[in-house]
């Protein structure tokens, strides 16, 4: 939007926050609370963008929504890349849990043999898996990031930073 501050830095920071919190094992379960980390990333992006506004200018909901949408795009990309990295390095405790469960089910019939077989044979680097994860993460983050930006814009409201609108001298 013409004349407004750059949305790049606030969106990158908000997106990085979304991506990291949505990828780190155990912490990422917070997203089960209606995408809490993604909403929070959108709110943070809106707040940081508001801070770049000159004094005397008010912050609109559409500004928050736009920066939240861009933050969601970055967040989805970060989450996918970081998530793949964590899985490749074997840092995901859920994978270790599944492996111990697979050992258990070899001794006892649990009715979940098909599920474990598919997990054992899956590869995180399969193109279909990577592409599907990327599309899902980006879509989810953009939708909920926009909502987070709207919520952030609503919370900022008509608050204006102190000072007068700068004019040319």
């Amino acid at each position: 939007m013409e004349g407004t501050p750059s949305k790049l830095n606030p969106a990158l920071i908000g997106g990085a926050m979304m991506g990291v919190l949505s990828s780190v094992p155990l912490i990422r379960e917070g997203n089960c609370l209606c995408c809490l980390w993604i909403l929070a990333g959108g709110v943070v992006a809106a707040y940081l963008y508001w801070r770049e506004f000159p004094s005397g200018m008010s912050f609109s909901l559409s500004e928050g929504a736009t920066v939240g949408l861009i933050a969601g795009l970055y967040g989805g990309l970060f989450a996918t890349l970081l998530g793949l990295f964590i899985e490749i390095m074997g840092l995901d405790p859920t994978r270790a849990l599944f492996q111990s469960m697979m050992e258990f089910q070899k001794n006892f019939s649990t009715g979940l043999e098909d599920l474990f077989k598919s997990f054992e044979n899956s590869s995180v680097m399969e193109p279909f898996y990577v592409l599907g994860t990327l599309i899902f993460n980006v879509l989810r983050s953009m939708i909920f990031g926009t909502l987070g930006g709207v919520i952030g814009g609503a919370m900022i409201g008509k608050r204006q930073k102190k000072g007068n609108l700068p004019t040319a001298t």
């Binding site: 089960c32 209606c34 008010s58 909502l147 609503a154 919370m155 001298t169």
Partner: protein, 187 residues
């Protein structure tokens, strides 16, 4: 409370039409979203293809909801793919968008202040906090109702954001930005 109005005219008419189309698109998307949630229990009892579809939809919602069966509504003997609170949020959002999109408010759009969002968040937050502290026993219905309240509140702001985006060029703030930019180029 801020009410923005715009006068009649060809440009205003086009912007009103764009706003209406945007509202209808959001309404359609919300209906599809809620339809997927409500359809899972019925798909689960169908053919193998439908059961796989139900499993995929459940998998789609798994990263955004805990899906605990004892905290979810049941239809046709099967749990919904989202919990009661999430179902309330999405249902409240759909209801809010439906009411706002269907009423003729194109000339006057309500853009609420911060208090409206805070009230919606507070109700849900209080319900979660009090139930965790054991001071209040939540039921599926209380979770759903507080979620519906929050969802409907958010819908008002979302449509207001859409309106502001479409009417960006007529916004007084944008005129100030343009004046700033012109002045900074001149000097």
């Amino acid at each position: 409370m801020q009410i923005q109005t715009h006068s009649s005219g060809n440009r205003a008419g086009k912007e009103s039409l764009r706003y209406k189309i945007a509202c209808l698109m959001i309404l359609f998307f919300s209906m599809v979203w809620c339809g997927l949630i409500l359809g899972v229990p019925f798909l689960s009892g169908g053919s193998l293809f439908m059961q796989r579809g139900a499993a995929l939809i459940r998998l789609f919602f798994s990263p955004i909801c805990h899906q605990l069966p004892d905290r979810s509504f049941h239809l046709a003997g099967k749990a919904l793919p989202v919990c009661a609170r999430c179902a309330g949020i999405y249902g409240g959002f759909l209801a809010g968008v439906f009411i706002l999109a269907m009423t003729d408010r194109l000339k006057r759009v309500w853009i609420p202040g911060r208090w409206f969002m805070v009230s919606g968040l507070t109700m849900t937050g209080l319900e979660v906090l009090l139930s965790h502290l054991g001071l209040f026993s939540s039921t599926l219905m209380t979770r759903c109702l507080t979620g519906a309240l929050l969802g409907s509140v958010v819908s008002v702001y979302v449509l207001a954001a859409v309106y502001q985006t479409i009417n960006y060029g007529r916004n007084e703030e944008v005129k100030k930005w343009k004046e700033l930019r012109v002045n900074s180029i001149r000097h």
